[in-house]
């Protein structure tokens, strides 16, 4: 799957937030493919199906059925960023 990461302006400067615009809307299957990157939580009771994926190095946030991921990388976690982008690239 194609995607485009964009560094989002952030006030704090303690971490970096990237917004990934995806070629397709996020599905439950995609979320499960990403789940190996950290601890997954899905909030089905919220007005929109919000999910988050937390590890020591990043926090990934998204809404199922939208084509966008917001990812916070702590301490310039470039390795985590690469892992994420590799997984995204492999999604058909």
């Amino acid at each position: 799957m194609r995607f485009e990461p964009l560094l989002k302006e952030d006030c704090v400067g303690e971490y970096q937030v990237f917004v990934y615009t995806l070629e397709k809307a996020i599905t439950q299957a995609m979320v499960e493919r990403l789940s190996g990157l950290g601890t997954l939580q899905v909030f089905h009771d919220f007005p929109k199906p919000y999910f988050r994926l937390q590890s020591n190095h990043m926090l990934l946030k998204g809404v199922i059925q939208t084509p966008r991921l917001d990812v916070t990388f702590y301490d310039a976690a470039l390795e985590e960023k690469s892992k994420l982008e590799n997984i995204l690239a492999q999604i058909p």
Binding site: D10, C11, V12, E14, Y15, V17, Q41, V42, F43, H44, D45, F46, P47, K48, Y50, R52, L59, K61, V63, D70, T72
Partner: protein
């Protein structure tokens, strides 16, 4: 989207696009002196001399011009507060970087008001200039500006008052408050266009020009004209925004903006009382004394950044998360370094809006399951 970021900017200008054509023609007929608009500003803010109303390209622009132009007033010390926005803190950082003048910060009370006892001691330490905000852009707490001005003037210090948050929220009587300069934003609670700020300068406060160029008058002079407003205004003014402001001030009066602000404040008081009872949220720095309708939150379940994301993208409530360009205020509040989610309300909001925000927070307050 439910807009709760009035402290940053108005969700929409009061003047509609249909009016812009008329504004363009009207302002184009003037020699760009905008005398009528200056007179209107002077009346609106109870300031006696419209000739001493100057325009700039925003509060940050004007604060920089006034601060850098005030070298002759600095004395040995410039006194300011931890409440200030970076539009004050950063210019002062550069001005005081080499230690002459030095910068001193007034102590705040626990709830974030200027400690007048500390101020009255520090003002006597060779202070030439005082810079304070009328209300914090983080908590909205209102400052005792009349006492600050009185104490400063007793020692001959000048006072610049940053009214970015209070213009359009309350009746500001410039002549009565007596500061040497008042700086206002067009695009927040006044609901004008961005790219415009304006200032009222009292007699005896004569900043030097630090920005020079064409003034539309006195073109033969090599230097910037001495006369106000030309001394401090150069280049093409934002005439569309000035024209919009002219019409906006009329509309604010017609809609009785003071009564609407009071109503908003009343609704906010009820709302914030209920938010305080939510167990999964921490309300940060809510003043007990008079303040604007601003609420700062942290969540026990989400980081500040994530809370901002969830409110915006899931519950469609737009606040602002982070440090709000006021790092020292967050250090005072204990919310450094990640800041808070600030929800700031305005006069177009009704009971339904507050109920919707409260409902969203209640939903997040344990009324959900995460798998």
């Amino acid at each position: 989207m439910l807009y709760c970021n009035w402290a940053a900017t108005t969700p929409f200008p009061l003047v509609s696009g249909g009016s812009l054509g008329a504004i363009h023609v009207r302002t184009g007929d003037e020699n760009q002196s905008f005398t009528g608009t200056r007179e209107k500003i002077a009346r609106f803010f109870h300031f006696h001399d419209p000739r001493r109303v100057i325009f700039g390209f925003g509060v940050t622009d004007l604060l920089n011009k006034l601060l850098w132009g005030s070298r002759k007033y600095f004395g040995a010390c410039i006194l300011t507060t931890p409440l200030e926005h970076n539009s004050v803190l950063r210019p002062l950082y550069y001005i005081t970087k080499k230690g002459k003048p030095r910068r001193e910060l007034v102590r705040l009370t626990p709830e974030g008001k200027i400690d007048l006892q500390d101020f009255s001691q520090k003002i006597r330490q060779d202070v030439g200039l005082v810079v304070v905000n009328h209300a914090s852009n983080v908590t909205g707490i209102l400052q005792p500006v009349e006492q600050v001005v009185q104490l400063a003037h007793e020692v001959g210090a000048k006072v610049i008052l940053d009214c970015a948050q209070t213009a359009g929220r309350m009746d500001i009587a410039c002549d009565s408050i007596g500061a040497d300069a008042f700086v206002f934003s067009s695009h927040k609670a006044l609901m004008g266009f961005s790219g415009l700020g304006f200032a009222c300068l009292a007699e005896g406060f004569e900043p030097d020009p630090v920005f020079s160029g064409g003034t539309g008058a006195y073109s033969a002079k090599k230097e910037q004209p001495e006369q106000l407003p030309f001394r401090l205004e150069s280049g093409t003014p934002n005439y569309l925004a000035i024209g919009a402001l002219d019409e906006t001030l009329d509309r604010m009066q017609q809609m009785d903006y003071l009564a609407r602000n009071q109503r908003c404040n009343h609704l906010f008081t009820n709302f914030s009382t209920q938010v305080r009872s939510l167990s999964r949220f921490e309300v940060v720095g809510l003043p007990t004394s008079e303040h604007l309708p601003y609420l700062n939150l942290r969540s026990r379940d989400f980081s500040v950044e994530e809370l901002g994301f969830v409110l915006s993208n899931i519950f469609e409530i737009q606040g602002r998360h982070g440090l709000h360009c006021a790092p020292l205020m967050h250090q005072h509040l204990g919310s450094w370094p990640l800041g808070t989610v600030r929800l700031s309300f305005g006069i177009t909001q009704d009971e339904g809006d507050f109920e919707d925000v409260l409902s969203a927070l209640q939903k997040m307050d344990g009324g959900y399951h995460a798998f």
